[in-house]
C-alpha cells in the first residue's frame, strides 16, 4: 500500500467515523452548561459537536479527496495501474513476455525504460502531454466502469510518433539509419508510422478478439 493510499485510508476512515457520530448525535440534547476539557482548551459539548461537524463535512473530505486524486494521478502511471482493467491484460501480458518480439516487449526489456513503460509511450512530452494523458485516463475510466466498450479495444485516433521521436531522435543509432532521415517529415506529420517498419507494438486485434486461438493465453491475469 502506497503512502498516499494509506493517508487516504486513514482520512476517509476518520470521516466515516465522524459521519456515524453526526448521524446519531442530536445536538439539541447537548447541554450548553456541560464542558469538555481537551487539555489545552475547555469547550462546551455543543462547541465540540460543531467542531467535529466542520471537520467531517469540510476539512477531512477536502484532505481525503486531495490525497486520493493525487494517488490516481501518480498511480495511473504504473504498469500495474494499466493492468487493473482486464481489457489491458493482452497488452501487459505480451509486453512482459520475454519471448515476445512486439515493439512494446522490446522496449520493456530495454534498460533505458526502467519503469512506467505504458505511460512513457502513451503520453506526450511536457505538461500538455501529461494533461491529455490524464483526461484520456478519465475517459477510459468512464468507459470501463460503465462497460461501454467493445472487445477487442481499439486505440482512439492515431498513435503520435512524437512519442518515439522524443527518445530516439538525435541518438546515433537512429540517425545512422538513412530511411529515418528520408521519412522524417512524413513520420512527424503522421503520414507514416514507425510501426510500418518496426512491427506491431501490441498483439493484433484478431489475436485479442474473444474466441481466437491466443485469446485465453493473452487474457490470463498478469502477475
Amino acid at each position: 500500500m502506497s503512502f498516499l493510499a494509506t493517508v487516504t485510508a486513514v482520512l476517509s476512515g476518520l470521516a466515516l467515523a465522524g459521519c456515524v457520530y453526526l448521524f446519531f448525535r442530536d445536538p439539541r440534547k447537548l447541554g450548553r452548561g456541560e464542558f469538555v476539557n481537551l487539555g489545552f482548551l475547555t469547550l462546551t459539548r455543543l462547541s465540540v459537536y460543531k467542531l467535529i461537524a466542520v471537520t467531517v463535512m469540510g476539512v477531512l473530505p477536502i484532505a481525503a479527496l486531495s490525497t486520493a486524486n493525487l494517488e490516481v494521478i501518480e498511480g495511473a502511471k504504473t504498469v500495474q495501474a494499466c493492468a487493473g482493467c482486464h481489457v489491458m491484460w493482452p497488452m501487459v501480458n505480451d509486453m512482459v513476455d520475454p519471448g515476445s518480439d512486439s515493439l512494446s516487449a522490446r522496449h520493456y526489456r530495454s534498460a533505458a525504460m526502467s519503469g512506467d513503460q505504458c505511460y512513457a509511450c502513451h503520453s506526450g512530452y511536457g505538461f500538455n502531454g501529461a494533461l491529455e494523458a490524464k483526461l484520456e485516463g478519465y475517459r477510459h475510466l468512464v468507459r470501463y466502469t460503465t462497460g461501454l466498450y467493445p472487445e477487442p479495444v481499439k486505440k482512439r485516433g492515431h498513435f503520435n510518433s512524437g512519442a518515439c521521436f522524443g527518445c530516439h531522435e538525435g541518438t546515433s543509432g537512429f540517425e545512422a539509419v538513412r530511411s529515418h532521415d528520408v521519412g522524417r517529415e512524413r513520420l512527424r506529420s503522421g503520414q507514416m508510422s514507425c510501426l510500418s517498419c518496426h512491427g506491431l507494438a501490441h498483439p493484433s486485434r484478431s489475436e485479442r478478439t474473444p474466441g481466437s486461438a491466443s485469446y485465453q493465453q493473452l487474457m490470463e491475469k498478469p502477475r
Binding site: 482520512l11 466515516l16 456515524v20 461537524a53 467531517v56 469540510g58 473530505p61 479527496l65 478519465y138
Partner: protein
C-alpha cells in the same frame, strides 16, 4: 440533526476507503464519479444550513 449530510458524506467516505484499500478500476471510478459529487453536495448543503442558522440568529 445532520442525518442527510452525514449520510451523503458517510457513503462518500466509505467509497474513498474502498478505493484506498483496493485501488481497483471500479473503486477508482466510484471515487471520481460518485464520491466526489456526494461530498460536494453534502458540503454545500451543510454550508447552506450553517448560513441559514447564522442569518436566523442575526449573526450575518
Amino acid at each position: 440533526m445532520m442525518k442527510l449530510e452525514a449520510s451523503l458524506a458517510g457513503v462518500a467516505s466509505a467509497i474513498l476507503l474502498w478505493f484506498a484499500l483496493t485501488r481497483s478500476a471500479y473503486s477508482m471510478g466510484a471515487m471520481v464519479f460518485v464520491a466526489t459529487p456526494l461530498y460536494v453536495v453534502a458540503g454545500a448543503y451543510f454550508a447552506y444550513r450553517v448560513f441559514r442558522e447564522l442569518r436566523e440568529r442575526d449573526v450575518l
